[in-house]
């Protein structure tokens, strides 16, 4: 597909959790918990609030189609702020500093006086019904000329446990939201920019790592299409595919629109009650329904079932809209007979609805109230299909297709958080911030200065163990020893079930230092670290694994071994070195470094041969 010709425009919003000690608006730790560790539960109802003009934000209204009762899990690591039972503490300065550092790395201009806002979010993920967010800096640059519009600091939402139950451990963890302008024009470009931005964020060394700690939202439109925001793309590798599929969807919807218009299609007929038609049906969904309503969509026949994205049809869009009323989904005649609905039933349905070849009939089965609501949603979406691609917030499905979530929110959903005072950012603040070395620069340095192979250098720079690597190297340990230990030995130990993440950084460095000073043997490293991971202190672990053997102890052993094998030595001369090395090592393995054994053996052998 020629994306430039399609007029593809895309921008990204990256949400990255920050690795701060405390949350953004309370002094709770940012620790994630297991659900079973919860200390209690409570529940609340959320409702949309009305504006001055008597209007409710359109995204909020969509969420409120059902009465929403939400349950929340509390922990001994959460407090009344997360419960929306206490005013927020002042904005976390550590988080603000990280945010400003990132802003500086993108050469952005900080806002002189930062104001925290309340952004209405009533899907239950925020106990208050809003998310606190503040615009911190604007106008940054990307390599290649792209523009970063804004960087905001926000509180993370609560983690959904299931359905309408949320866990409060994640609520309030600071995150930055970085928004680019719609400056990208191909799917690959979007993925590349997202990758670059992620690299810059990780370069700070102060962002959280792991699944779910970074999320990308992608804004996409094609010419004659509409701005669509796709939420929560967690895997970087899927971004290009998501963009491709959305472009495909918009192009498909535009083609359907043109065809509907050519057919003079319409949407706006009254639904009819066809409950009686299905009294003897074999369809399990229809059988248990209180009411079945049928809606004729004149001119829509064949188009509702047309694929617009892998696994998605116009009918899927209708279904998404209908689900907002609490129904499980819809049936449409483009996909019937199926799901236990017979050909005869379809014929009877079409005739009851007065539907011809070119028409489609939608079936909704639920309570009367829910079914009526669902029908009105389908009518609304069908009318949009005649008009244009709707502006929407969508969520990503497995593989990169998307489903409708809600309309794009308006600016109407933001108002000031009066409980948090504005924060002024003086002109000198930015200049005093240390700009971290980019990971790409680090990789270059590891290759040139530390003499690592470029691929290894990159592996180190991009890994989660980078801080530990740098700490050990600055601590004076040979870089190769550090590398082999934390990228090789650790992996092997992990495979054997050793909890290497329990080894304190300081302990690892102490062990490696002991090895470098000859106090412990290199061969003993796995053994020592296993004990340290089990909770033993470094000193005892070293002496247990490598009972200290002095050079003179070693020399004594070597002399003994040599004296027992004089005939062999006389026969083999220098060539005896290899086999003898094996004999000595079998006796002293783990207690003495191999290098030292080789050195002492060579010397003693020389002495015997010269005697």
């Amino acid at each position: 597909m020629d994306y430039e010709a399609l007029g593809l425009k895309a921008g990204i919003e990256i949400h990255q959790q920050l690795n701060t000690h405390e949350k953004l608006f309370c002094r709770c730790p940012t620790t994630l918990r297991k659900f079973e560790e919860r200390s209690g539960e409570f529940y609340r109802y959320l409702r949309a609030t009305v504006s001055e003009m008597g209007e409710i934000d359109r995204a909020a209204r969509e969420e409120m189609k059902q009465s929403r009762k939400f349950c929340y899990y509390t922990y001994d690591s959460t407090c009344l702020v997360e419960n929306d039972e206490e005013p927020p503490a002042p904005l976390n300065t550590e988080a603000l500093e990280i945010c400003l550092t990132i802003a500086r790395m993108f050469q952005m201009t900080p806002i002189e006086q930062v104001h925290t806002m309340r952004k209405l979010v009533i899907d239950g993920s925020n106990t208050s019904g809003f998310q606190r967010t503040a615009l911190v800096a604007i106008n940054g640059v990307l390599p290649g000329g792209g523009l970063i519009e804004t960087i905001c600091i926000e509180e993370e939402a609560a983690q959904r446990v299931e359905d309408e139950t949320f866990s409060l451990d994640r609520l309030g963890i600071p995150l930055v939201e970085i928004t680019t302008s719609p400056c990208m024009h191909t799917p690959e470009q979007v993925q590349e920019v997202a990758g670059y931005m992620g690299m810059v964020l990780r370069s700070t060394g102060r962002v959280r790592r792991g699944l779910g700690t970074i999320r990308q939202d992608v804004n996409i439109s094609v010419r004659d299409g509409a701005r669509v925001e796709i939420k929560g793309v967690q895997e970087l590798d899927l971004i290009a595919e998501v963009v491709r599929r959305e472009a495909l969807r918009q192009v498909g919807l535009i083609a359907i629109r043109d065809e509907l218009r050519a057919r003079n299609a319409s949407a706006g007929e009254e639904a009819i009650d066809v409950t009686g038609l299905f009294s003897g049906t074999a369809s399990s969904v229809l059988k248990k329904a209180k009411v079945i309503l049928a809606l004729k969509l004149p001119g829509f026949g064949g188009l509702v079932g047309r694929e617009i994205q892998p696994g998605r049809r116009l009918g899927s869009e209708f279904s998404d809209y209908a689900k907002k009323c609490g129904v499980g989904g819809i049936f449409h005649t483009d996909e019937l007979p199926a799901y236990g609905v017979t050909g005869d039933e379809v014929a009877a349905l079409k005739s009851a609805a007065g539907a011809g070849e070119q028409d489609c009939v939608i079936l909704v089965a639920a309570t009367r109230e829910k079914a009526a609501c669902a029908v009105s949603q389908v009518v609304r979406r069908a009318q949009m299909a005649l008009e244009q691609v709707p502006e929407e917030t969508r969520k990503m499905l497995e593989g990169g297709s998307t489903a409708y979530m809600r309309p794009l929110p308006g600016a109407a959903r933001m108002y000031p958080e009066t409980d948090v005072l504005p924060v002024c950012i003086g002109p000198d603040v930015m200049e005093n911030l240390a700009v971290p070395e980019l990971l790409t620069e680090k990789a270059d340095r590891f290759a040139t200065v530390l003499k690592f192979d470029p691929a290894v250098a990159r592996q180190i720079a991009y890994s989660e163990q980078l801080p530990l690597f740098e700490l050990a190297v600055t601590g004076g340990i040979t870089p190769m020893l550090v590398y082999r230990t934390i990228y090789g030995t650790y992996k092997e130990l992990k495979r054997e079930g050793v909890q290497v993440e329990d080894i304190p950084d300081g302990s690892l460095i102490a062990v490696l230092k002991a090895v470098e000073e000859g106090k412990a043997a290199k061969e003993a490293i796995p053994g020592i670290l296993t004990k340290v991971a089990d909770g033993m202190a470094v000193g005892p672990a070293i002496s247990e694994c490598s009972p200290s053997m002095s050079r003179s102890d070693l020399e004594e052993i070597v002399r003994r071994i040599l004296s027992e094998r004089t005939d062999f030595i006389r026969e083999k001369k220098q060539a005896a070195l290899g086999p003898l090395m094996g004999v000595v090592m079998a006796e002293v393995r783990g207690a003495v470094d191999g290098k030292l054994v080789s050195e002492v053996l060579r010397k003693e052998l020389e002495r015997v041969l010269n005697a």
Partner: protein, 411 residues
């Protein structure tokens, strides 16, 4: 600054790219601009230029379609907000007081009753005073006399318990008089205003016949408790379930969302008393919280007062050095009432020496009255009693459920 007015459309060239926005206000010299993205930023005013002055659009008046067959409820507002709305143009949050606005903010109310509203004051509850309590009592009395099935008083939560106690003493009521407020602002989707508002309306049409506070019973949106106006206290600065009945069980509960009311046996029922107003108060009364080492000079600040309530330690004590100064105050005509800063339990000054000394100099034991309730009651008694002996009798007699003769198990 003066150059811009709230609501002006401006272009902001701060940081390079021009951005459109709305001027909100001046804050410490910075112009606060609401960008079209919704975010507010504070920037130097000289980076902004005026594009267009947009006249403020008057708020739409809500029609209050009310069901005439439902019982008439009167909402008397003093400044606590159970309804507010957000001006999304400027982000300003304003409190709403008209019946239409309240019904629009809490749509469920219209199926409980039909409403009239009376906006008495718009003040923060810490700015309440005895004169306002008196006006409030008169307003509540008038609403009862005019036929209200129940009266709802919206009130800031900080001093709601004082006002509820004051109205309890000043008004004899045959109908429920319900104080209600919210702990979390009414603009937020999670506010307790809707549930508290609906539960208060339901309590106001219930068989109750006394002054009560109706607020969240737990942190969940599961039920409200109905507390007696003279036995309720705000026991937490921010939680939804801050209000607690002290020394008695609540008068009842209102389940949510069913709005079903259950009343305890000890709750006074509707029409037990005819309406009456006794609105005299002696304002020259004080309340002092004793602490170890409190110098007698602290008491001199209460010189000239007609009454003083002491929140003493434990069973009702103060340091020995205060005995003589208190005696001097009593001799000069001031009534001194002892309560306990334990809040739970009653005073008993016959157990220890200082207690006996306090009784000897004429201190009145306040029983198990809450210190704040004792203060309000003392104002009312001094305003209505004739002679010191009657003051003493009334202060120790239960008038509006403020004094329990017995200390109950489990409370």
């Amino acid at each position: 600054m003066g150059e811009f007015e709230t609501g002006d459309r401006v272009v902001c060239r701060y940081g390079g790219e021009p951005r459109d926005g709305t001027y909100i206000t001046d804050r410490d010299g910075w112009a606060v601009i609401k960008l079209d993205s919704g975010y507010n930023i504070g920037v130097s005013p000289d980076t902004c230029t005026l594009v267009e002055r947009i006249p403020a659009i008057p708020a739409r008046e809500a029609d209050a379609g009310q069901d005439e067959s439902l019982p008439l409820l009167s909402i008397v507002s003093t400044g606590g907000t159970i309804a507010s709305r957000i001006d999304y143009r400027t982000g300003a949050v304003t409190s709403q007081f008209s019946a239409g606005d309240i019904l629009r903010a809490i749509p469920g109310l219209s199926s409980v009753g039909r409403f009239t509203t009376r906006q008495l004051y718009t003040i923060l509850s810490e700015n309440m005073n005895p004169a306002i309590w008196q006006e409030l009592a008169r307003a509540v009395y008038e609403e009862i006399r005019d036929g209200a099935t129940g009266v709802i008083v919206t009130h800031g939560t900080d001093t709601m318990a004082y006002s509820a106690a004051a109205v309890s003493f000043m008004v004899d009521t045959p109908v429920p008089v319900i104080f209600v407020g919210s702990q979390r602002s009414a603009d937020r989707p999670s506010s307790d205003n809707v549930m508290n508002g609906l539960c208060s309306a339901s309590a106001a049409v219930s068989p109750l016949g006394e002054v009560a506070v109706v607020m969240h019973d737990t942190t969940s949106d599961d039920r409200c408790a109905i507390h007696r106006g003279t036995r309720v206290r705000k026991m937490h600065s921010s939680r939804r379930d801050a209000f607690r009945s002290i020394g008695v069980s609540p008068l009842g509960y209102v389940n949510y969302p069913s709005l079903e009311v259950t009343l305890s046996d000890h709750a006074v029922r509707r029409a037990t008393k005819g309406p009456a107003l006794h609105d005299r108060l002696e304002e020259r009364c004080g309340l002092v919280w004793f602490y170890p080492g409190m110098p007698p000079s602290v008491l001199s600040g209460f010189e000239g007062m007609k009454g003083l309530v002491i929140a003493g330690t434990g069973l009702g004590h103060v340091g020995t050095s205060l005995i003589q100064p208190l005696k001097a105050m009593i001799d000069a005509g001031c009534e001194v009432v002892m309560t306990t800063q334990c809040l739970h339990g009653r005073v008993c000054d016959r157990v220890y020496d200082t207690g006996r000394d306090l009784l000897d100099i004429g201190v009145i034991e306040g029983g198990d009255m809450l210190p704040e309730t004792a203060l309000v009651k003392l104002m009312w008694v001094l305003g209505n009693a004739s002679g010191r002996e009657q003051v003493r009798v009334l202060m120790t007699r239960d008038l509006k459920g403020e004094c329990n003769g017995r200390s109950y198990n489990g409370l």
